[in-house]
Subunit: 268 residues, 2 copies
């Protein structure tokens, strides 16, 4: 597969790139520790899934891994962002018959550790539903941008977003888990939302620990009966919700067990 | 308002531009005739509406018009595409407090006149619903891209797209009109779809002609009772549907009257 690589902030993206024109692409934001990508295999799995669903050619793995390694090297504690687009094309939504995808890589250092607890507020901004786009991390993220814009006027660190059919989906940039009657519940993402790499790790870890877990439709009212809520993403790991819509949440047990198991686990 | 202008195909877009990262922007595709933009005021109205809804600063009009004029000049018959993004920003969905928007302009010549009639097929690819994004021409267009991808395997020139709640919305890149019991009906776009500049001209022209018209929710089954169907966009004008899902459509009267009135009208 022929690919155009653009590395670092000084790169130059073609004004006709379809990632810009139509959001026609995917991205991954990965945690770096000691110059290595955490959960790289899971990120590449999701990228592969997205590229298949959007019919964007996936770059050859050896070259892609070499470019990722080079970008990640020498960053002790930070992140690596990868964007994969369908490349340039003539005007119009129709994808070119033989796309030459663009890969954009940029890495940066992050200061400090993420907090173990955050506050959240339910947003008015909703997530549209589309089974063809749900789960994958595509570039069309205006709903999350508008969610963040709404959040900037509220006194909370994360926003909880519902789908237009009224299901709880997750944070603007985090997945949600609820502990309800001893079971770990996370929203079904077959109609909206992004299936996070850390979400997957948490589900796998719960299974390893023998902790009951399910992915299912979750109604906002059910959150009131949750003993514990936490959110996850690849950069922040597991963060307990200290407060949701003003309601103080005391539960930390399951998040703590999962965090300990994840840190001691082999899946990093 | 401080703005970064990028003109023509040789321009260079910052890899951190939020238009690329998140589809955080808007676009307009305008018809050029004799070096001038057709329906420029309507395009700028929609751009203004979109910029207000996304809270992206609108470029100062005199500078924007001068740049548009310069890009359009010397193109006898073609198109001008304008992209407005929120500009660059740090990683994360949260918009920067003081964005410096990017404007990308590119013009090109088009060969020949668009056909007066097209064929269409109803697509399986649906349009998600989101009142906050409906109507405006934002950059998140993966649904249209997937619709076009589906269409490439079908024997038709345009695809008819429904919303996830089952309403008819329009083509992948065209608005739809149906003549039902003597009334011009076009889908309500308050939950999905793009409110086209030519759609607006058609509605205004129908009003001028005293032809009854309404914007409302339209069920797929209603199309079977339509005497006439046509689609519109700023580049192709009005195109009658010769065939939808294999059903041959004979009606051309209303499309013909509207086309004649538009061409003779003052709203170009």
């Amino acid at each position: 597969v022929q690919v155009r690589y653009i590395i670092g902030p000084d790169g130059c993206v073609d004004p006709f790139d379809r990632g810009l024109a139509y959001g026609d692409g995917l991205f991954e934001t990965m945690a770096l520790r000691g110059g290595r990508v955490l959960r790289l295999a899971s990120h590449l799995d999701r990228l592969r899934d997205g590229s298949q669903r959007l019919a964007i050619p996936l770059p050859d793995t050896p070259e892609l891994l070499a470019q990722i390694d080079a970008a990640a090297a020498e960053i002790e504690h930070g992140h690596l962002k990868l964007i994969l687009t369908r490349g340039t094309g003539p005007r119009g939504y129709a994808p070119p018959a033989s796309p030459v995808p663009t890969v954009i890589l940029s890495a940066g250092a992050d200061a400090g550790e993420p907090s173990a607890e955050i506050t959240a507020r339910t947003l008015e901004t909703e997530l549209g539903e589309n089974p063809k786009l749900a789960g994958i991390k595509h570039l069309c993220r205006l709903e999350q941008v508008l969610g963040r814009l709404e959040l900037s006027h509220l006194d909370a660190e994360e926003g909880l977003m519902l789908s237009t059919s009224g299901a709880v989906i997750g944070g603007t940039s985090r997945n949600l888990f609820a502990v309800i009657e001893g079971c770990l519940v996370t929203p079904d993402l077959s109609r909206a939302g992004i299936a996070g790499v850390m979400r997957r790790s948490v589900l796998e870890t719960a299974q390893r620990l023998g902790f009951p877990a399910e992915e299912r439709r979750l109604a906002p009212a059910e959150l009131a009966s949750a003993d514990e809520l936490f959110m996850t993403n690849a950069l922040v790991g597991i963060q307990s919700l200290r407060e949701l819509d003003g309601r103080v949440l005391a539960g930390r047990t399951v998040a703590g067990r999962l965090r300990a198991a994840l840190e001691g686990g082999t899946d990093a």
